[in-house]
Symmetry: C2
Amino acid sequence: MINTTTNSPIKALMFDVFGTLVDWRSSVASHAQSLLGDKFNIDWLAFADAWRDQYQPSMQKVRSGEIPFSSLDHLHLINLNKIIQDFSLKGIDELTKKNLNLAWHKLDGWSDTQEGLQRLRKKFITAPCSNGNISIMVDLARHNHIHWDAILGSEIAGNYKPNPIVYKASVKALGLNPDEVMMVAAHSSDLKAAAEQGLKTAFITRALEHGPLGSKNNAQAETKALTPVDYSANDLNDLAQQLGC
Amino acid sequence: MINTTTNSPIKALMFDVFGTLVDWRSSVASHAQSLLGDKFNIDWLAFADAWRDQYQPSMQKVRSGEIPFSSLDHLHLINLNKIIQDFSLKGIDELTKKNLNLAWHKLDGWSDTQEGLQRLRKKFITAPCSNGNISIMVDLARHNHIHWDAILGSEIAGNYKPNPIVYKASVKALGLNPDEVMMVAAHSSDLKAAAEQGLKTAFITRALEHGPLGSKNNAQAETKALTPVDYSANDLNDLAQQLGC
């Protein structure tokens, strides 16, 4: 589906990160197993899925105003305490929890992420517009050799996507009009919310976000956009090619 | 003067930008002359000095609460309108003013800036902690081939240095303790304010910030720190060497 937005030239690309640029699921599972695998024998992919399941509900409390904004690092830690109980992982000390929480700072990029972003940055300003806080983004960029022009998203907006303020604050920080910025994501809900704020949109297929069989709780990757978009690409190199990079 | 802060290892360096990393004075003078030199014959360095003279008073209105936070781009434009009158530059249209205001997005780095920052980034997280807004920092980094890990400073804090919130918000965004971050600047007032928030400090001599003779209004560069600092360096390469980069 192709959107019918304006003809303004695109000057900047803003990226969703978890799932779109990095493989959170196998990275978190691997990190948790390396820290706890000697003591506990559980399904670490299910552990990663369960941790991620708490993601939207915890941010919804901020979006609804039930709790004030706090960073994703903080929400991740609260959520970790919950799933540690759910998986009956007993006796984990606070330092280990803190190290476990850093799993989200060390997620591996998809195979095309580094090269694709390098190509796209030659022509466009590039920045994450993620729900991850700035220090997560700093560490992920270092880990995956990404050169961002700026780090935008939830922390500069004080709220979480898909709240409109996150897209608006991020576009404003670039000093651009919304139709000069394209949101790039593997999730239609993110792109739909961005389009509603006047941004252009690009869908990236990430068929393996929830693993080859889907997650333990039947979450499935989107294989195509479920909302009108301006571009649809198989990966970042495909997007770069479509954009003439 | 050497400060006596803690022994925590430094993990991140935050940089003042105007004056410390880029030569705002000759760059602004050159940019203004290239846009207006055909129509007006004035001292363009004096024009740059006069524009910069409005910098602190305009930010002070935000710091004091007299006006709400607005970006430095916005303040620069207000200040430009004032000095255009002071210099009797008549008949400048709004588009030309907007282009003039972009002078602050195209400032040239000092000769050591690119290499020095590259060296320092190998060992430390590096980010500007400037009063410039994010889009100024994005454009300056592109213009001078700087790779920042994040863009911190006034816009994420909603206030201007040396208000403590700017240092605190910037350190918090990195997920670090204040004593794990070092502020790098050519201005003692900036370093003093950072030290008061627990940051480490490095002074860089920028003898030519106000030109070889000082500015038209007798502003003089600081040739040494006027407040206790942890490091004092002739330029960024000297700092890199002192820090073992």
